[in-house]
């Protein structure tokens, strides 16, 4: 999707902008950060509402606990850090201090996946969706673009209970700017209908999957692309509908193929409609340093790479 005419924006920017909008609407919204306000874009909120922005310093575990405590007193805390720390370092804090008591804490994790780029493997979280979706009652959302990311933040604030939202560092094309687009937690979006196969994707991979579908179309293959932005609770009905309709299922995610969207889709299909699934993602390995675009190519997660992997699996 190297289309120069398409507007691009990083979903972390969308997160920061949505928080400001939310802050104006709801005085109970507070934002916590761990010395990464500039990077996670909560600095945008801080500028507008300095009294409601709590910088906890480089202490993510404590930040998570503080958010839990704030939520028991009626606040709606948005906890922000890189996915590596928000979900990785903090897994147990999220599980025990937020998940177990089912508290109204929203985790905004930025810099997820390989598109972190040059910082390399230590900061490229490829396991967060797997970790977060194992926590009972946790809603897990991986938005695909600016519009969806903002909608997810708004929905999270309006819905009681813990949310994990995964945002990216790199600018991604705006793909949901159309009149019929509607965001609903737990409801997948059919981005392109098709009959020969279905590609379930989320996050930055939706735009890339669309690019792959275009290439497949040139080969006479009519692929559906379904954006499964909510990994949990997953949209069982839409997954089954498209699996039954096409009988050929692919999943694409900027995440390990172990435990993420692909696994969630397989969980639904193996119990309800066993069909062969090819999971496309990061294959049990760590990331690398490099520009985001080059990494997407290297890991075969750009449109070309996805197309090639699908063709090889046919």
């Amino acid at each position: 999707m190297a289309d120069c005419e398409v507007k691009k924006i990083a979903t972390r920017e969308s997160y920061g902008n949505a928080l400001v909008e939310l802050g104006k609407k709801n005085p109970n919204v507070v934002v916590l950060d761990a010395d990464l306000a500039g990077a996670t874009k909560t600095s945008t909120f801080k500028k507008e509402f300095p009294d409601r922005h709590i910088d906890c310093g480089i202490a993510e575990a404590n930040m998570t606990g503080i958010a839990a405590g704030l939520s028991t007193c009626g606040k709606i805390p948005f906890v922000s850090s890189f996915a590596m720390f928000a979900a990785g370092r903090n897994f147990e804090q999220v599980r025990n201090s937020i998940g177990y008591p089912h508290l109204n804490v929203k985790i905004g994790a930025t810099h997820a996946g390989i598109t972190v780029g040059e910082d390399g493997a230590s900061h490229q979280c490829l396991e967060d969706v797997a970790l977060m979706r194992t926590i009972p009652g946790m809603t897990v959302i991986v938005p695909s673009d600016d519009i969806e990311a903002k909608a997810a933040v708004m929905a999270a604030a309006e819905t009681e209970g813990p949310f994990y939202m995964r945002f990216g560092r790199a600018a991604v094309p705006v793909i949901n700017d159309r009149p019929d687009y509607k965001f609903e937690v737990g409801k997948a979006v059919v981005v392109k209908d098709g009959t020969d196969m279905v590609i379930f994707a989320n996050g930055v991979c939706v735009a890339e999957a669309l690019g792959a579908a275009e290439k497949l179309a040139a080969d006479g293959i009519n692929a559906a692309v379904v954006n499964v932005h909510t990994v949990k609770p997953i949209d069982k009905d839409t997954i089954l509908e498209f699996a039954k309709k096409t009988n050929r299922v692919f999943t694409v995610e900027e995440h390990s193929v172990i435990g993420g969207l692909g696994s969630a889709v397989c969980d639904v299909l193996s119990e309800n409609y066993p069909v062969k699934v090819k999971k496309i993602g990061v294959y049990d390995r760590f990331g690398k340093s490099g520009p985001a675009g080059a990494l997407m190519k290297e890991f075969q997660l750009d449109a070309e790479g996805i197309y090639n992997q699908i063709k090889a699996a046919l």
């Binding site: 575990a61 404590n62 503080i66 028991t72 007193c73 606040k75 804090q93």
Partner: protein, 278 residues
């Protein structure tokens, strides 16, 4: 409450602890008993709470960061009227609302789910911060173990509370000197606890955790202190009140058998009689 009334109540709280753990055939009596006087003072004297309205938004909050001493908290809540004392024998049993570690969604009066050491203080800081943000006057109390402060997250929370001057927060450290593997100074010494907390901008008060005059005085000083959170470091005896459990690390997480249970109740009844005579 007079000191005598507090002592009597604490002895009954101790009976509830021993009874609950004996019935469960597992659980943590040692650290529950060492903190029994503190639990009693908090719920019967210090905190602004109402057992009939456990979710009152204006209530004071308590977070049991050393969540394994749930029997101490449960027995106190039961004696305070949050739920029937008889229910203490359901501790840790399938279907009971008294889980092995505190669960705020199950038990009336429990303000935070805890059990994984090191996390409770952070949540208490969050509650105290919420009061500051809202301009509310409630206070927040949290109890940690002296072994628990080996957890790194505790110091993140202390650093934050000190740096941000969270003066509506009181951290109580139960310094009974023992943890599962032995003496805290042998396992991995957290001493000097007072100097460390002073360096973290805490108003530090060191007391005997079994002396109600000292406990009373410490909380009065905590309330007066502005611009600093307070830490009450209380020297206690692990297993306090049951002779064979006192100062024995082995009674950290072990239930008394029937014979031991009878002896514990006998000893506590004798203490109650003695307090009554005094």
């Amino acid at each position: 409450m007079t000191n005598k009334e507090l002592q009597l109540t604490a002895a009954n709280v101790r009976k509830g602890i021993v009874t609950a753990v004996h019935s469960a055939k597992s659980g943590h009596p040692g650290g529950s008993l060492s903190a029994a006087d503190m639990f009693t003072y908090l719920y019967f004297e210090e905190m602004n709470i109402d057992p009939k309205n456990p979710k009152d938004p204006n209530r004071d909050r308590f977070v049991l960061s050393k969540g394994h001493t749930a029997p101490g908290l449960y027995s106190t809540l039961a004696n305070r009227g949050y739920f029937p004392v008889e229910d203490l024998t359901t501790l840790r049993k399938l279907g009971s609302y008294l889980q092995g570690h505190p669960c705020m969604t199950e038990t009336p009066g429990v303000d935070m789910s805890t059990g994984s050491l090191g996390q409770g203080v952070s949540t208490a800081v969050g509650m105290a911060l919420a009061a500051k943000l809202n301009g509310d006057s409630y206070r927040v109390y949290t109890l940690t173990g002296d072994g628990e402060i080996q957890e790194g997250q505790i110091w993140e929370a202390f650093m934050f509370a000190g740096a941000k001057k969270i003066d509506n927060l009181t951290v109580i450290i139960d310094n009974n000197g023992l943890q599962i593997d032995g003496k805290i100074e042998d396992v991995c010494s957290p001493y000097p606890i007072d100097k460390k907390l002073e360096a973290f901008n805490f108003n530090v008060i060191c007391i005997d955790g079994h002396d109600f005059d000292q406990i009373r005085d410490a909380f009065a000083k905590a309330k007066e202190c502005k611009g600093q959170p307070t830490a009450i470091i209380m020297k206690t005896t692990k297993g306090k009140g049951v002779s064979y459990m006192e100062n024995q690390a082995g009674w950290h997480g072990k239930a008394p058998n029937d014979e031991e249970y009878e002896q514990a109740i006998k000893e506590l009844d004798e203490q109650i009689a003695k307090i009554g005579e005094a």
